[in-house]
């Protein structure tokens, strides 16, 4: 039983867009060791995306490949969570420049990997054997991503006055975007119906436990839930995704089919 193509694309798009975002730290991280940690994280995510795109491309058939899926689709085709595409300074306009905010990077990686350890764990039992194998590999990587982000969340949240304030601001800015995790969409319903996917809404209690425990330990406050509901996985994105794709896809589009 194969997973619905759009469901595979949603998983792959999350990974490739967050991988691209985290790669922006390459050469710019606060210390050399952290530069490598974030590059490792980014490469893990891009590796997950590749496996998912390859699987989807096989199911699509024809000329589809991991490259056409990553580099030759446009904003409305991408099904990633809006959370993954936000810049490392979430409250700026798409074209604004500023120093990257490490707390924002950590908050996003924490919120996303706390979800994905649960999702990959369930998808190990997917009716789609290929997806189950990808989940098995990705789970180990994601456990480390969660550990890395959680560790920094604690250090910065329970650190100095400045680091606490910046970590709190990042959580305040990004947590509302997680409401999208729990709102079901057609590809998730189709995947759940044929046994290849999992009921993400059922993971909410476990996710809350992970998040609340970490925030409490980090002396941070969880902002109240709001009615804000992003729609990235339906292809309706923030203004930021276009800029991410412009950078990520420009080389492939200028030199289609180029290899090295």
């Amino acid at each position: 039983m194969n997973a619905p193509i759009d469901y595979l694309l949603q998983l792959a798009d999350n990974a490739v867009i967050l991988g691209q975002r985290n790669a922006e730290w390459c050469g710019h991280a606060p210390v050399l060791e952290e530069d490598m940690a974030l590059a490792n994280n980014s490469l893990d995510l891009i590796g997950q995306a590749r496996l998912l795109y390859q699987h989807a491309a096989t199911l699509i058939g024809g000329d589809a490949s991991e490259d056409t899926l990553a580099y030759f689709r446009d904003v409305p085709d991408f099904k990633n969570y809006t959370l993954c595409e936000l810049p490392h300074l979430p409250l700026m306009s798409a074209t604004a420049c500023g120093d990257r905010d490490f707390a924002t990077t950590i908050a996003r990686n924490f919120l996303y990997s706390a979800l994905m350890v649960l999702v990959w764990d369930r998808l190990q039992g997917s009716a789609d054997a290929q997806l189950a194998a990808i989940a098995d590999k990705s789970l180990k990587e994601t456990r480390y991503h969660l550990r890395h982000a959680r560790d920094w969340l604690l250090r910065l949240g329970d650190g100095t006055e400045t680091s606490h304030q910046r970590m709190q601001a990042a959580i305040d800015a990004l947590l509302p975007y997680t409401s999208e995790f729990w709102a079901s969409c057609p590809q998730e319903q189709a995947a759940q119906a044929n046994g290849s996917g999992t009921d993400v809404a059922a993971l909410r209690t476990d996710w809350n436990t992970i998040v609340d425990a970490a925030l409490q330990e980090a002396t941070l406050t969880r902002p109240a839930d709001s009615a804000f509901l992003p729609t990235g996985k339906q292809g309706l994105h923030s203004e930021h995704l276009g800029f991410v794709l412009a950078e990520m896809q420009s080389l492939s589009r200028q030199h289609p089919g180029a290899t090295w």
């Binding site: 490598m36 490792n40 250090r155 329970d158 650190g159 100095t160």
Partner: protein, 98 residues
């Protein structure tokens, strides 16, 4: 939350065991704020090509090192004492690599 920010992270020496049964070998050093932090950074810097199955980190300040100036009295007296090398024995085949 009232601890002052560390402006300089202390230095740690990193030891990696490449396989079960082998010893931990020194492979480099890094800056980190505490032991747990140093372990994670060592994982990211020194084991990303499957180099290890176990990591030790030790504060560099905890290592007492011999002085380069002591080289003559520390090491040179051993140079003419070849009888300290176990090269005068025949090792039975069954023992294999020693």
């Amino acid at each position: 939350m009232n601890a002052p920010a560390l402006k300089e992270w202390p230095l740690w020496e990193v030891f990696v065991r490449s396989k079960q049964g082998l010893e931990h070998k020194h492979c480099g050093s890094l800056h980190a704020s505490d032991a747990q932090h140093a372990l994670q950074m060592a994982r990211d810097v020194y084991t990303r090509r499957q180099e290890g199955v176990s990591i030790w980190v030790v504060p560099s300040s905890a290592i007492a090192a011999s002085e380069p100036n002591d080289k003559a009295e520390f090491f040179e007296p051993a140079s003419d004492k070849i009888y300290r090398h176990p090269t005068f024995y025949d090792i039975p085949e069954e023992v294999g690599h020693m």
